[in-house]
Structure formats: structure tokens, C-alpha cells
Amino acid sequence: MARVLVGVKRVIDYAVKIRVKPDKKGVVTDGVKHSMNPFDEIAVEEAVRMKEKKIASEIIAVSCGPAQSQEVIRTALAMGVDKGIHVEIPAAEYETLQPIHVSKILAKIAEKEKIDLIIVGKQAIDDDSNQTAQMTAAVLDWPQATFASHIEKGDKELTVKREVDGGMETIKCKIPAVISADLRLNEPRYATLPNIMKAKKKPIAKMTPKDLGVDISPRIEIVSVEDPPVRQPGVILPDVDALVGKLKEGGHI
């Protein structure tokens, strides 16, 4: 059975209206509702299903970030993950944390915990980088199966269906491997109350990038963050009759 590592990121909830900070150096996060990155939820769900099918033995969830990142680890634990690791990164340094850093952190943890499978969401909805899975595989020199929409685990190998621009691609790769979860891989469960209560007792280990020997000095500088230009709303109409109807309705013709 495989030991699985799942990466989960705390992001601003997708139903929240994003506002740019007055100093234009970032977006407002104080007092704003956050949640687990939706693709990471799918990754967690896949790992939990593997455990239920007895394909996975233990699942560990990792999150990198300031203290609040523990919230998403708790959510993962409530969904069925066994234990959590919080890699604590102070808020200032978190601003410039990039997939290049996270991938090295995940790689080091994977080595320490003797992980066989790393599953992460294909991208985070705040930065849309879509790099962490790929970079982690490169650091570890492991095969990667990205944009997974279906996973079958054999004894020593994985068969993964990938959703790519050209269509559906099916690949086989050896284990250990890195997988990134795409939208149609599964539908994540709601954590039920008994599990939420149980999760409070599950352990979350704390460590720093230094403990893992990973240098997280910034490799980018945020110059400015601005609102996109305001778009005038357009309406797509099915046919000319609808167009005429709409014009009449608005009192234009």
C-alpha cells in the first residue's frame, strides 16, 4: 500500500470579491474568508478514496504558510487524512513564496516520510501557477501525471487519464510519482460532524523551511498589483428574435 502526501493551500474563497490593497502591493486578506484551494480538495478526496480502497496506507497533508494555514490542514483531517504537517512561514516571506520553494519543501518531506505518491491540485486559484507538481517531480526525479481526471493504481505503476488541450491522454508511469488533480477527477465529500470532531484529535506536526534545509529567499519582487480594467457587461443572445425582444424590452426600439 502506498504512503500518500497531499499538498493543500489556503486561498481566498472563490465566492469572495477580491479587493486590491490601497498600497497596490497585494490584495486584501485581513478579515477575508479563506478556504482550501478547490483543486487541493479534489486531491485530498482522491487520497482518502485510495485509503478506503486499501490502496493507500497513510495520508499526510502538508500546508506551507502562516499560522492560519493550519485551518486547511484541519479540513483535510476532517475529510479523512491521518496527520498533518504545517511548514510555518511568516506572513512577510509568504508574499514571495513560489512553487520553486514549495516543490523543494514537498520533496524534502516526501523523502523524510518515505512517501510513494504525492497528490496536489493542478494549480492554486490565487496565482494560477500550475508549477508545483511538475517542479516537485523534477526535484525528486520522479515521473509526473498532471491534470489527472482518472487514476488507477497497479502494483508498481499508475495508469492515469489526463485532460489535455488536445483531448484525453492515457499514460502509465512508475511509482513513486507526482500527480496533479484536475476538476473532473472526483467530487470532494463534505466533512461530516463526527469526522470534524475526530479531526481535532489528529496530530499536526510543525516545522520550518530551515528544518528542511530549504532556502525560501525571494526570487521575485512584487512591483504592483492592480485591478483589471472594468469590463462593460455584454449579453450573449441566442438569435435575432431574442435580440429584437431585448431591444423592445429596454424601450430602445
Binding site: 474563497d13 465566492a15 460532524l193
Partner: protein, 499 residues
């Protein structure tokens, strides 16, 4: 025949509304006589064209469909003309003219009413408030919104969000319904439990009487005891005493923290215990308490593939909290939920604190009416019952129906307001009478109300006669005659006399 639905008005509903062809005309389906009103003539049309301009009259047959037929496709009028005023003065001139010329009118908002009060029965001229959609002001100190009555509820809420406020009512039809319609029907909705009803939230309004007189009762003041409180006459009068043109609404501060719990329960007694516990433990942060039975979830799963997030249970509760402090609310909610599990009130549940998850879970409850327009014909009823008897009616009606139909109930448990439905394969007058004669007399026996929030409209007139105090009925008729001697305002609705 091409059906041109107002795309913005009906949003997601438009694609679902295809379960059956247009109903037959109401005048053919029901035993109603047309009143002695004038019929529309060239001179009348010329007057309206001069007043509003050609663009704001609708006379094309295919365009008229969406105004003549209600959302649930139970009623169909035969109006030949829709007028679309933009100002109170235009409404006043229209009514004054119609009153002088004995032309009957049907005021219409978003056309989302459930009892046929908003569509014509014969050829009443429809006055659509759709173009009276201007927001005048939002007072940031008082949280008072002043706007024309044709504003769509959801649009108002979106505007208020920018200033940190929210509308004090919320209903499934919010993407289409007008605030004027909400006021005229004294709409209830999901959050009445917390924010009260329209009588409390309407600080002032402006309405036009049948003879065109404008009654200005606009006020943004919380306290104003100067004379009879006339605005309350218009609230809930369903367009029969006047046309509401402007409103001043007391809005609520938009809560920073909204949480939702979805529970699965074994029996109704357990539902009640959970409800009582919630009132104690959640107290001031409780903002909604909705219940569904398993028959409802089965029906919704069958028609829309929407499922319970926690598996199947005999009863479900959706409990919402709204407050100003995340930690405080989450703490209270989690303690309450632990209590319900430990005391074995609830068998299972889940909780959401993130806006996206809260929205997802609310959808499960809010989409229930979408399932009604799918295949079967669904009779829908809206009653208030003493809370301990909330599901008694559902059980009794189910026994009464036997295999003739599927009965299911859900609704605003917190207000004792039950939405009870009977789904049948095909509509017949016989089955309708079979259901309603029993249902309404049982509601009366249980000491409830035959119409909690939907109103009387066209659908429930004959039952109003049966259940209301005789003197009250006389008094209502006197009021109607006083305010509308020619009976032109929304005839055949609520409390009507043949003219």
C-alpha cells in the same frame, strides 16, 4: 410560436421552463365572469402611445406571452396591451385615464407570484413596473434604501453589498422579483426569522390610487407617528388598493460571518428538539431555520440530481447563523452542533463557513422549486401551522391522497410556514378539488393559515371567504370600494366584487 422570455428576468429559470405547453386561458379553466369594463380601443392606445411613446407599449402577440402567463404556468390571461411607465407621474396619468374610461388594469412586477395575482384573468391592461428600476439613495448611517418599486431584489442586494448592507429579505425568486411586488404581497422568505417581515422593514412608500392620486407616504424615519399608518394598507394588498411606485426600506448591516449547518435527523420530534436547542444555543446569531422531509429530497434528486451532502435521512435541517465575529459565531455553532450529536438529536451533519460552500449548501434548499417545473404537475401550497403540527398536515394529506400523488413538505420551520406539494402525473380539476377541499379544511382544524406568505391572488379567493371573519370580509370590501370605486385595480383578485 416563438416564446421570447426576458433573459435577464428569468435567468436560470428560463432554461428549465419547458415541462408542458402553455396552459389554457384562465377564463376557460375557471368559473369567472368578466366585469363590466371597457375593452381596449384605438383611442385608448393612441393616448398611451402619446403618453409613453410607442417603445414602451407591448402589443405584439408573441411578446405578450411572458406577461400573460405566470412562472409556474398555472394561469393565462388575455391581455392585449402592456404599459411600461418610468415615473410615478406616468403611473398616475395611466390610472387616472383608466379609471375615467373604466379600463381594468393588472399591475405586474417580476411575475414570480405563486397564486396568479400578477397575471390578468381576462384582458386587463398590464402595467409592468420593470422600467421603474432606479435606486435613489442608500443612507449609510441609517441603512435606509430608497428606490422605485420595479427594482429587482437581487440587484438591490448587490448594490447594498458595496456599502456593507443587505436587503432584509431573501427568496428563491430574488433574481426576478421586484421590491414593489415583495411589498405588495408582504413577501416572507428565508430570513424572516431574523429580520422580520415587510410591515416592519418598509419605513415609507409612495403609491398611486385607482383614480390617479399619488399618496406620498415616503419616510426614512424609524419613528413617525403622524396619523393613520396608511402604508400598511398597501403592504400585502396585492395590487388591489393601489400601485406602489416607490419604497424606503430599512436594510440590515451585512454580516461579516455567515455559517451554515446541514443536519440529518431521525424524526420530527428530534427536529423540534434541535430547533429549540438552536434557539437557546445560537440565540441572536440564528438567521434561518429550514426543514425538508426525505420525500422532498427524493423528488429533488430524481428531477435535478441534487443530493444531500451527508447521505439520506428521514428529515433534514438547514440552519444559518449570521453575525459580526467569525470566531464567536464559529465557536457557538460548533458547540451547538456537538450538543445535537451528543444528545442524539441529529444523526449526522456537516457545516460550512466558507462563502463558496455556504452558497453550495443553500442551493440544495433553494433549488427545490426548480424541480416543480420538470415533468409532473405540482400543486403547491403555502400554509402556516402551529409548529408541533408542522408535518401533521403532510402525513394527513399523504394518507388522503394514497397512490393518487406524491406528497412532500419543506419550508421555514422557524416561522411555522410549511410549503406542501402534491405531484401528480396530470392536472385535472377533480384532483385539484380533491386535494384542496381536504387540505384547507384540515389547516383550519389545526388552527393554521391557508396562506402563509404567498397571498390570496386569484387562486385562493374562494377559501378566503370560508375562513375569514364575516365582519372582516365586509370591512375589506368597504375599503376596496372606498379606494377603488370602479374596481379597476387588479379585479378578480384577493377580495373582489363583480363590477
Amino acid at each position: 410560436m416563438i416564446r421570447s422570455f426576458a433573459a435577464d428576468g428569468l435567468k436560470r429559470f428560463a432554461s428549465i421552463r419547458c415541462f408542458s405547453s402553455t396552459p389554457d386561458f384562465t377564463k376557460n379553466n375557471y368559473n369567472v365572469q368578466r366585469g363590466g369594463y371597457q375593452s381596449l380601443e384605438e383611442d385608448h392606445i393612441k393616448y398611451f402611445q402619446t403618453l409613453l411613446g410607442e417603445n414602451r407599449l407591448v402589443m405584439d402577440l408573441s411578446d405578450l406571452e411572458q406577461y400573460n402567463v405566470d412562472w409556474f404556468k398555472h394561469y393565462r390571461g388575455n391581455s392585449k396591451l402592456v404599459l411600461k411607465p418610468k415615473t410615478t407621474e406616468e403611473v398616475s396619468k395611466i390610472l387616472s385615464y383608466c379609471n375615467k374610461n373604466k379600463l381594468a388594469v393588472c399591475p405586474q412586477g417580476g411575475n414570480t407570484g405563486v397564486v396568479g395575482g400578477q397575471v390578468p384573468v381576462f384582458d386587463e391592461i398590464i402595467i409592468s413596473m420593470a422600467l421603474m428600476n432606479q435606486i435613489e439613495s442608500v443612507d449609510e448611517h441609517l441603512g435606509v434604501l430608497v428606490c422605485q418599486s420595479g427594482c429587482i431584489l437581487e440587484n438591490l442586494d448587490n448594490e447594498l453589498e458595496k456599502k456593507g448592507f443587505m436587503m432584509p429579505l431573501d427568496l428563491g425568486a430574488k433574481g426576478s422579483c421586484h421590491i414593489g411586488g415583495n411589498v405588495s404581497t408582504n413577501a416572507g422568505g428565508l430570513r424572516l426569522l431574523r429580520y422580520g417581515n415587510m410591515h416592519g422593514n418598509v419605513l415609507g412608500l409612495e403609491a398611486v390610487k385607482a383614480n390617479g392620486e399619488i399618496i406620498d407616504l415616503m419616510s426614512s424615519l424609524k419613528k413617525d407617528n403622524t396619523g393613520f399608518h396608511l402604508k400598511h394598507l398597501f403592504i400585502g394588498s396585492e395590487g388591489t388598493l393601489g400601485v406602489v411606485t416607490k419604497v424606503a426600506i430599512q436594510c440590515a448591516v451585512r454580516p461579516k460571518s455567515i455559517n451554515l449547518a446541514f443536519l440529518g435527523l431521525q424524526s420530527f420530534p428530534k427536529v423540534l428538539k434541535t430547533f429549540m436547542q438552536a434557539k437557546q444555543d445560537l440565540g441572536e446569531i440564528l438567521s434561518a431555520m429550514e426543514v425538508m422531509d426525505s420525500a422532498t429530497m427524493d423528488f429533488v434528486k430524481d428531477k435535478l440530481k441534487v443530493e444531500s451532502p451527508i447521505g439520506e435521512y428521514p428529515f433534514y435541517l438547514v440552519i444559518e447563523t449570521s453575525g459580526s465575529n467569525d470566531e464567536h459565531d464559529a465557536d457557538k455553532l460548533h458547540k451547538f452542533l456537538e450538543t445535537t450529536l451528543i444528545k442524539h438529536f441529529a444523526l449526522n451533519g456537516t457545516v460550512a463557513t466558507e462563502p463558496s460552500k455556504v452558497k453550495e449548501m443553500w442551493q440544495i434548499r433553494e433549488r427545490i422549486p426548480d424541480s416543480f417545473v420538470k415533468d409532473d404537475y405540482v400543486f403547491l401550497y403555502d400554509v402556516t401551522l402551529p409548529i408541533p403540527d408542522y408535518f401533521t398536515l403532510v402525513d394527513d394529506v399523504r394518507d388522503h391522497l394514497g397512490s393518487k400523488g406524491k406528497v412532500f413538505g419543506f419550508g421555514h420551520l422557524g416561522d411555522g410556514n410549511l410549503h406542501i406539494q402534491v405531484a401528480v402525473d396530470k392536472y385535472t380539476h377533480e384532483i385539484k378539488d380533491f386535494i384542496e377541499d381536504y387540505m384547507y379544511s384540515r389547516v383550519v382544524e389545526l388552527k393554521g393559515s391557508i396562506s402563509a406568505e404567498h397571498g390570496i391572488g386569484f387562486a385562493k379567493i374562494k377559501y378566503l371567504e370560508k375562513i375569514k371573519d364575516k365582519n372582516a370580509l365586509i370591512f375589506m370590501r368597504q375599503m376596496k370600494r372606498l379606494m377603488d370605486p370602479n374596481g379597476i385595480l387588479n379585479p378578480y383578485k384577493l377580495i373582489f366584487e363583480q363590477h
